[in-house]
Symmetry: C2
Subunit: 321 residues, 2 copies
């Protein structure tokens, strides 16, 4: 059994290309095909496929629809989040609402959520209720995370603990869910399902903290995006929340100053560095990554599988793009 | 067993009032509570409850969550449709996006869809897959209907057949679904499920055609809404589509003319009457209502149940509000 993120991503791409859509109202599906074809890391389906293969020693293709359900759900949230955030660009291309309008992004997003449920339960047999329950609870948590994220925009007293709770809900639980769906489909016992869920959630936290880090300290040539977008948008990242707490006078002053973008980024980044937030953020991401690996300590895995999950968790905290 | 729409509506109201929401991110649930508390006929849950009671001779409260799932889904579509249509008022109150903003309407709407799935499958036992399949297919059809409705706005060649297909998808199939969910939960055989589905769909068509009729020919004192809104908005109703086909020169001329609202409504209404569209629309609604009753011809129902379903179908085509 070959465990590689590229192999799982390729399986996902093929399955996306082979998805069938109803014949009625084809305009509903164009934005969906566009959104799904725009790439991304396919990390969530890869987790579902890898966990299933590792625990069942069977062909991961058997759970491709459950893996796609998570990817479909993830892309549904991106469609709606991009409307809410007025985002113009996603993965280097115009967002769905920029290309087809807001109404299309809302309605096709709704259809994606329903299609995700359809994929999740396809051929699910006696696993139907357990898969469904896991997915449904996670979906509610993701909305809660987005709600908190929006509420944080209008608050100046967000704590680090609240931030971690928010990114856990908005991002990490879906990675945990992807893992647990693979484990449920493999017929794993509850403690193994829980271990893989904990693995996914901890990895998701590492992943998101690295995202915050990359947006400020990344190498633009490798990162593939402009650096400093979060600073310009005053986005309440882990870095900003800590800096606001530790420099309660200086940081708001810099943010409020009428500076050119580059200069603002330079000053805020310097403030972050003076507080060692670059190192502290990396350390915290590494700690979550280690937690993820620890969570699998009691799960019986063959060498290849363990190496795969270990490397994946490490890369979440250390990746450069 | 007492069959009355008021009794079923009251059961629905109590269950809505008793709904439990998660503690995290309470802001997500305020718009949901508001939308669900704004009344409406509760026709869809009533159908689910009544069909279950009629076929199982058991307490309809046993399927209250499945009935609520349909009502929750219906209200989710209203939240998102109101954003898409830029509607300000719903049931006499500001729409959710007017009161909390568009982002809240989108996100809380998403949460309602997921909550609907949760209600649908609550305590579903071995009926889980059948209930789910019916609900999921219907949801896709409702989106298709909304997509067609939006596409029709930009087309001048919509046929009556296309219009009927659109309202069937956008409105009627959900009434059919509400009936079928009740039948599935009651353990009815497939032919009985199909009969009740056909009943709901035909009743839905009668209901929607009566809606078109009321907006132009209703008595404002009883209807509770301004008359002529569809005419002012050039909404492609059954009346307008027929009139455009039968008066291809005169009607577009009236619509294009720069007239005061009241005068435009007067002239278009006169054109409709000259084509007898008021009678023809009523006749067609009555025919669908009769189709609904015919669909139940082979279902064994006791006298009270049959009287209830017959009166409900008749009122869909003849109601004045």
């Amino acid at each position: 059994m070959e465990y590689s993120i590229d192999r799982f991503a390729a399986m996902t791409e093929s399955a996306i290309a082979a998805l069938k859509y109803p014949a009625t109202a084809p305009g509903l599906y164009e934005p969906i095909k566009y959104a799904l074809a725009s790439g991304g890391k396919r990390l969530r389906p890869a987790l579902c496929l890898a966990v299933y293969a590792a625990l069942s020693h069977r062909d991961p293709a058997e759970v491709i629809n459950q893996a796609l359900a998570v990817e479909m759900f993830h892309n549904f949230t991106l469609l709606h989040d991009d409307v809410m955030d007025c985002a113009d660009i996603r993965r280097g291309r115009p967002t769905v609402h920029r290309r087809w309008g807001e109404n299309a992004a809302i309605l096709s997003g709704d259809a994606m959520l329903t299609m995700a449920y359809g994929l999740l339960t396809d051929n699910a047999g006696d696993k139907f209720p357990a898969l469904f329950e896991e997915f449904n609870r996670t979906a509610m948590e993701v909305y809660q995370g987005q709600q908190l994220d929006m509420e944080f925009e209008n608050r100046s007293d967000v704590t680090v603990a609240e931030y971690i709770e928010m990114i856990k809900l908005k991002t990490s639980v879906l990675l945990g869910c992807a893992c647990r769906l693979g484990a449920i489909a493999a017929g794993a016992e509850a403690s193994v399902c829980d271990s893989f869920y904990a693995y996914g959630v901890a990895m998701g936290l590492a992943f998101q903290l690295r995202d915050d880090w990359l947006d400020t300290f990344g190498d633009p040539a490798i990162f593939g995006k402009e650096i400093g977008g979060d600073i310009i948008n005053k986005k309440k990242t882990w870095l900003l929340i800590n800096a606001m707490a530790e420099m309660p006078d200086e940081l708001p002053a810099i943010l409020a100053e009428d500076l050119e973008d580059r200069e603002k980024i330079r000053q805020v980044t310097a403030a972050y560095r003076s507080l060692h937030l670059d190192h502290r953020c990396s350390e915290l991401a590494n700690r979550y990554s280690a937690d993820a690996i620890t969570a699998l300590g009691n799960v019986a895995l063959d060498k290849d599988a363990l190496a795969f999950f270990t490397a994946l968790a490490e890369s979440a905290a250390t990746r450069n793009h």
